[in-house]
Assembly symmetry: C2
Homo-oligomer: 490 residues x 2
C-alpha cells in the first residue's frame, strides 16, 4: 500500500483506501458469482421496473462508488447474458477463464492505448499474432491484428483482398468500374455480405454458392459461378471458405475451394470464426486441411478459446500487403527513429483502429496458462458433449436430429406435439430459457425451425446436455394445448 504518496489533482480520489477496499470486495463478490454459476438460472429476464430504474437524466453531480456498485449488484448482475453458465448453449459464446480474468484485472489499471508506439503491450500483441499464426498453420511472420471480432476481421481481410486485386489505386479511386465479384457458401456468416456492403462492392457482387447435404460449399458450383462471371467480363477477386458454419459447424473443403480461388487468380480467405480454433486439437485439426492455401483467416479468441470479450483476430499471409492496405502517413502520428513513437509498424498500420484496448494480454495469459493442448482438450470435450447430446436426441422418440453433427453444434427439434412445429419449437426454446434451465438458441434448417445447441463453454458437461433435453421435454409436457407426446418418449 502506498497511500502516503501525494494525491493527484483531477479525478483521483482523496481516499484511495476506500477505492481499494471496494475493489477487493467487488472482486470477491464476482468470484462468488462465477463459482456459483451452476446453481443459479442460466438467464433471468430483467424486470420492467428495474429497466425503468436504469433510466435517468445525465447526472450533473457525482455519486459515491459504493452507490454505483450497489446499483450494479441490484440492476445489472442478476440479469446477465448467461454465457458463463455451463448450460448456456446458445449462439457461439465463450465462458471466460481465470487466466482471462487475471489479465483483464491488470489491464483495467494498466490501460495502455494499443494503436501503436513503442511499449510492451505492442510487443505482447506481436507475440500473440505469431502464436495465432502458429496455432492455425500460418507462417509465424504473417501479418495480423486483433479486432473486436470476426465481423471486422472478415472486413479487414476483404479490404486486403480488394487491394490485392485492384492495386494501390483502389485507395484513391474507389471500387467503381472494377467489376469485382466475390464467392462464398450460402451457409457463410452474415458478416460476409455485410463486409461487401460496407466495402462499397454491394451484396449483389457476392455470389452465394449452394451448399451440399453436409452444408459444405458446392465446389463445382463455385467454379461455374467464377467462370460465368469471367465470361461476363467481371473480375472474381475473392473466394471465402467457411471453417465452421454458424448453423451446424460445417467445414468447406478448403483445399478444393483454395484451388478454385488460385485457378481464378483470386484471393482465398477463410472465415474460421470459431472453427479455426479446432486446430488446437490434433483430433479436429484435419478439418482445416487446405488452410495452407488461405491468403487470410479471420477468427475469434473469445469463442472456443474462452478469452473474455472481445478478442477477434485476422491473419494475412502477405504482411506487406496488409500494411499497404492500411498504413497512412499522418503528421501528428508520424513514427520516429527513437522515443515513444519508435519501432513501427504498429497495429494501427494493419487495421482500421487507432484507439485500441490491450486485448493481447488476455490472449497471452490464456495460451500460456492452458497451453495449446489445454485449449485442444476444451475443443475435444465440447465435441464429445455434442456427440452425447446427438446420441440422446437420436434415442428420444419425440426428438429429431436436423443436421449431421460434425463438431460441437447439435440442431434438432421436438418432432411431435403440435401442428405448427416451427412455432412450437420456438416456444419451447423460450420456455427453457425463461425457466432458467438451459439456453439453446434457434436456427432454420431446410425450412424447419431447429433448436440449436452449440457446446462452446468449457464448463459444459454431458450432464448439462442431458439437462437441456430433460428441460425441453418437461416444457413440452407442460405446454398448454400441446398435443400428447408419444408415450414411448416419456
Amino acid at each position: 500500500m502506498t497511500d502516503s504518496l501525494p494525491q493527484s489533482t483531477g479525478l483521483d480520489p482523496s481516499d484511495w483506501h476506500g477505492v481499494r477496499a471496494l475493489s477487493h470486495r467487488a472482486l470477491d463478490d464476482m468470484f462468488d458469482w462465477l463459482q456459483s454459476a451452476d446453481s443459479r438460472p442460466v438467464w433471468e429476464q430483467m424486470p420492467a421496473a428495474k429497466r425503468a430504474e436504469l433510466r435517468a437524466a445525465l447526472p450533473r453531480q457525482g455519486d459515491p462508488l459504493e452507490t454505483l456498485y450497489a446499483d450494479f449488484q441490484r440492476l445489472v448482475l442478476p440479469y446477465g447474458a448467461g454465457n458463463e453458465h455451463p448450460r448456456f448453449f446458445g449462439w457461439v459464446n465463450g465462458g471466460g477463464t481465470a487466466a482471462g480474468i487475471l489479465a483483464e484485472l491488470l489491464v483495467a489499471i494498466f490501460n495502455p492505448n494499443c494503436g501503436g508506439r513503442d511499449h510492451a503491450a505492442i510487443e505482447v500483441e506481436r507475440q500473440v499474432i505469431a502464436w495465432a499464426a502458429e496455432a492455425v498453420g500460418f507462417p509465424i511472420d504473417a501479418g495480423g491484428v486483433l479486432l473486436g471480432g470476426s465481423s471486422m476481421a472478415n472486413m479487414v481481410a476483404l479490404l486486403v483482398a480488394r487491394r490485392a486485386a485492384a492495386g494501390a489505386a483502389v485507395r484513391a479511386g474507389g471500387v467503381a468500374g472494377r467489376g469485382l465479384t466475390a464467392y462464398c457458401s450460402a451457409a457463410a456468416h452474415g458478416c460476409i455480405p455485410r463486409a461487401m456492403d460496407m466495402a462499397g462492392l454491394g451484396t449483389d457482387a457476392l455470389r452465394l454458392i449452394p451448399a451440399d447435404a453436409d452444408h459444405r460449399m458446392d465446389i463445382l458450383a463455385l467454379r461455374q459461378a467464377i467462370a460465368a462471371d469471367r465470361a461476363a467480363g467481371l473480375h472474381p477477386f475473392l473466394v471465402v471458405g467457411t471453417a465452421g458454419s454458424v448453423d451446424v459447424g460445417a467445414f468447406d473443403d478448403l483445399t478444393a475451394a483454395g484451388d478454385a480461388a488460385r485457378d481464378a487468380g483470386a484471393w482465398f480467405h477463410v472465415d474460421g470464426a470459431f472453427g479455426a480454433t479446432a486446430a488446437f486439437s490434433p483430433r479436429f485439426r484435419p478439418l482445416l486441411a487446405g488452410i495452407e492455401r488461405a491468403d487470410s483467416l479471420a477468427f475469434d479468441f473469445h469463442k472456443w478459446v474462452q478469452v473474455p470479450y472481445d478478442a477477434g483476430c485476422v491473419l494475412v499471409r502477405d504482411r506487406a500487403l496488409q500494411l499497404d492496405t492500411f498504413a497512412q502517413s499522418l503528421a501528428y502520428l508520424e513514427g520516429a527513429e527513437r522515443g515513444i513513437a519508435g519501432n513501427p509498424p504498429w497495429p494501427r498500420d494493419m487495421g482500421p483502429d487507432l484507439s485500441r484496448a490491450f486485448r493481447a494480454l488476455k490472449i497471452w495469459f490464456t495460451l500460456r496458462a492452458y497451453g495449446a493442448d489445454g485449449i485442444g482438450r476444451v475443443v475435444e470435450n465440447s465435441c464429445d458433449v455434442a456427440q452425447h447430446l446427438a446420441a440422446r436426441v437420436r434415442r428420444e422418440p419425440t426428438l429429431e436430429l436436423l443436421a449431421p453433427v460434425a463438431l460441437n453444434i447439435v440442431c434438432f427439434r421436438v418432432a411431435q406435439g403440435a401442428a405448427d412445429l416451427n412455432r412450437y419449437n420456438n416456444d419451447l426454446v423460450a420456455d427453457v430459457q425463461e425457466a432458467g434451465i438451459a439456453a439453446p438458441s434457434t436456427t432454420t434448417i431446410g425450412g424447419k425451425l431447429a433448436i440449436r445447441a452449440g457446446v462452446f463453454n468449457h464448463r459444459s458437461t454431458r450432464a448439462d446436455a442431458d439437462a437441456l433435453v430433460d428441460g425441453l421435454l418437461e416444457m413440452a409436457r407442460r405446454r398448454p394445448g400441446a398435443l400428447p407426446l408419444d408415450p414411448a418418449g416419456a
Copy 2:
C-alpha cells in the same frame, strides 16, 4: 467465499483460493503502480533482451498463473505506454480513473457478449447512448452504438450517410456509378479519408477544403467545392465538420458548415473525437455551436472523459436510418418475442460488430461517479494547464508558439539552437521521452516540426507543464553540437 461448491470441468481451477489470492495481490500491486505514477519516468524503453524474452513458440502445456503474473511484472508493466502519467502530453490519451477501474474489474468476470439479446448490459448501453446524446446536444432518442474508437465511429457515420444519399439499393448495388463526393477540412483526421477508402468511395472523392489561419475549414471554399462538383454532375453527399482538430484543437464553424451541407442536400457529420466532450464544460460548450445541425457525431469516451480503453461512440440523429443501414435478418440470429433473443433492436443492428465487450459499464460508472460537471471541470483544468503552458512558451525567448491555443493543445518549438530546427525539435522530443521527464509528441504546422503538448490526462497540473518546458530546455542545453542558446533564455 464459496469454494465449497462443486468444481467445474474444463479450464476452471481446482483451487479457486489460489486464483483469488493472486488476483487480490495483483490488484494491490496495480493500485501501487497507479498511485506512484508521478514518481516514476513517464516512459522507459523496453530493453532488447526483454523483447527477446517475450519471443517463444506457442506453448503446448500450461504454466501456473503465478508464473504469468511474474512475467507480466517483469516484462510488461515497467514498459507501459505512459498515458496514466501526469506528464504524458503526447497524442490524445485519457488517463483512466477509479470508477473506470472498478467497472472493468466487474466486467473482467461478468464478461457478457454485448452484440445483442435481452440482458442488463444492453440496457446499460441504451442508457449510456442516451446520456451521450444529452451531453452533446443530440435528441436523447438518437441512434447510437459504442465502438472501439472514433475511427470506426466515423466509418459508421459515413455508411449511414451513404445510405441516406443512395437509398436502400446501395447495400446490394454498391457505390459504383453514383458519383458520391464528400468534404472535410484539410485539418481533418486521417480516419476520414480512411473511411472513404474502406467504404469503396476512394479518397479522391473526398475534397480536402483548405483551413484558415485559425485551422478552421474555409466555408466559402467548401461551398465552391460543392458547387463545382454539382456542376460536374457529381453527388455531394457528406460534409464532415471537425470539432477539435488533432493538430491544434481547432473547431470548424459547425453552424456554417451545417448550413452548407443542408443547402447541398448533404449529410452533416461531425468528427468530435475529443472536442465533442468539451460540451461537458459550460465554458467550452459554445465551441460546439451548430452541433444541432449535425446528422451524426463521432467521439471517444477514452480521451478527455478518461474512460479506460477502448470506448468510442457514434450518434445518429435519425435512429431508423442507422438501423436501416446495419440491421440484417439472419436465421441463427433471429430475434424472438420473448426469451433471451427478445427486446430488439440491439447494438449489432446499429454497427458492424456482433461480438462486443461490455464497454457501456465503464462509461456508466464514469458519468455517474464524476457527473457531467466533474468531467466539465477536467476539461476546464486541461485548458487552464494548456494556457499556462502557452504563457510559459511565450515568456521563454528560445521558444516559439506555432499555433493559437483554442483549447488544450499547445504546439511550439525551440526556435534557436540548430540550423535544422525540424530535426532538432524532433530530437528534443525523443530526448525528453527517453529521459522519462515528459512525453509530448510532434506534428507539423506550416512546414515546421512542432512539439505538440495535448493536456488530456486529468492528473496533469501546471507544474507538470512547467516540468515539460524545463525538461526540453535542459535537453537543449545538453545536446552535443547544439548551438548556444540565447542567454536571456537561461
